[in-house]
């Protein structure tokens, strides 16, 4: 019996030692906790986070959720009540940051289609009006994080993509 108890203690000790030696755990735990924190961010927190880190050529203004829906062609009859937010430009450039949360009325796929329509119309408009702005639309970031879909059209879309990751 004593021998059995001694062995159990050894095994417990060995697990403890093995755990302490695993130096990569804290880093991965941090990564996972960052991802779960990102998944719990509100639309408003997302657009502020991106606006703080990504450069824009235009003056950007945060507008309300109702305007976010109006600009992206989401109408009352769609029945959408998801959390959403938008930073919009003066129209001198197509720059914007938008975040929409899927709900029972509009799934991520539905929202993705709305975003595609919006970016397509913007490309068509700016191709004539300010063709130098079109590359910003062509490299626009569209990314899903949890139940949210994030759109960024900025002066540095590569950086936007990096910080969302």
């Amino acid at each position: 019996m004593k021998k059995f108890v001694a062995c159990l203690l050894m095994i417990t000790l060995a697990f403890g030692i093995a755990g302490c030696n695993s130096s990569d755990i804290p880093e991965e735990t941090t990564q996972i906790s960052q991802e779960s924190a990102a998944a719990s961010m509100t639309a408003d927190e997302w657009i502020d986070f991106i606006a703080d880190k990504v450069p824009f050529d235009d003056t950007m203004t945060k507008v309300g959720a109702e305007q976010a829906k109006a600009v992206y062609g989401i109408y009352e009859e769609d029945g959408y009540t998801g959390d959403c937010a938008l930073y919009i430009s003066t129209m001198a450039t197509p720059e914007e940051i938008a975040v929409f949360t899927a709900d029972d009325a509009l799934s991520l796929d539905d929202l993705y289609k709305k975003i595609e329509d919006r970016l397509s119309l913007q490309k068509e408009s700016y191709a004539d009006y300010a063709p130098q702005e079109v590359p910003k639309l062509e490299s626009a970031v569209i990314k899903i994080v949890g139940d949210k879909i994030i759109v960024v059209v900025s002066a540095d879309n590569a950086l936007a993509l990096e910080i969302i990751k």
Partner: protein
């Protein structure tokens, strides 16, 4: 130490090594199942990862939007926009996007000019959006994109075609033609394609003349948009043309007052 003790110690050592190995394997397995699960929440739908274009423009950090022009009226009487439609270019679209005028409807496009209202390269012409409506106020915001046209009178003849069509659809509506807003002094001076304040003044004379002849209402902007030199204040438009939220608010307020006078 007898033979039995040595054997016992050896057994314990082997057990210790085995336990450590098992623990390490289990730890690795648990991590390799957690990370992709967490990563699944970061599904990438469609991202073109081309390098962002290098731009000659100065990158401006997002400024805090505050109403700093307290001397100008910014009250917007929404009820004055009842049954009103605003048709026009990117400046009108900014007014729409900022959500400053809730009561009016907007028919706007980036880069819209008068010669693109009645026709469409794809789909329906914009003018068709007026069919089946009962607007009694039509506010037209055109001219900025036409400033570079070689013959300004062509702008007026195209403008008249648009208004005639609107009158066919909405015979009882009052037509308001908005003046072309000035650009900033720096933009005007470096201009090479006609988007300068000399042309703004010329176009506004032509629009005003058309309104007087045809019985339309002409809406002139206030002094807020025109400094002593006739230019838009430098601080309100990054590109010298499209003014910021603060100025759109002043504009919306001015429009609501114009409509209340009718």
């Amino acid at each position: 130490m007898n033979k039995s003790s040595v054997l016992h110690s050896l057994c314990v050592a082997v057990l210790l090594v085995l336990s450590a190995a098992i623990a390490l394997v289990l730890t690795d397995i648990s991590h390799s199942t957690q990370i992709p699960a967490a990563a699944e929440s970061l599904t990438e739908l469609s991202v073109t990862e081309t390098e962002a274009e290098t731009t000659q423009q100065t990158t401006v950090p997002i400024p805090t939007v505050e109403i700093v022009y307290d001397e100008y009226e910014t009250d917007i009487e929404q009820e004055n926009f009842n049954k009103a439609v605003i048709i026009g270019n990117s400046q009108a679209q900014a007014l729409s996007n900022y959500g400053l005028i809730k009561e009016a409807d907007f028919i706007t496009r980036i880069g819209l000019s008068v010669n693109k209202v009645l026709t469409a390269s794809e789909g329906e012409p914009l003018i068709n959006e007026l069919y089946g409506t009962d607007y009694d106020k039509v506010i037209l915001v055109f001219g900025e994109n036409e400033l570079g046209w070689p013959y300004p009178k062509n702008f007026i003849s195209e403008y008249k075609k648009v208004i005639n069509e609107i009158r066919e659809i909405l015979p009882d509506a009052t037509i308001y033609c908005h003046a072309v807003f000035p650009v900033t002094k720096s933009h005007s001076e470096k201009d090479t394609i006609g988007v300068n304040n000399e042309n703004v003044a010329l176009f506004n004379e032509l629009i005003k003349e058309m309104c007087e002849e045809e019985g339309y209402e002409f809406i002139m902007y206030s002094d807020a948009f025109s400094e002593d030199n006739g230019a838009l204040p430098e601080s309100v438009a990054n590109d010298g043309v499209h003014f910021n939220y603060d100025y759109c608010k002043i504009w919306a307020s001015e429009l609501s007052k114009v409509l209340s006078e009718e």
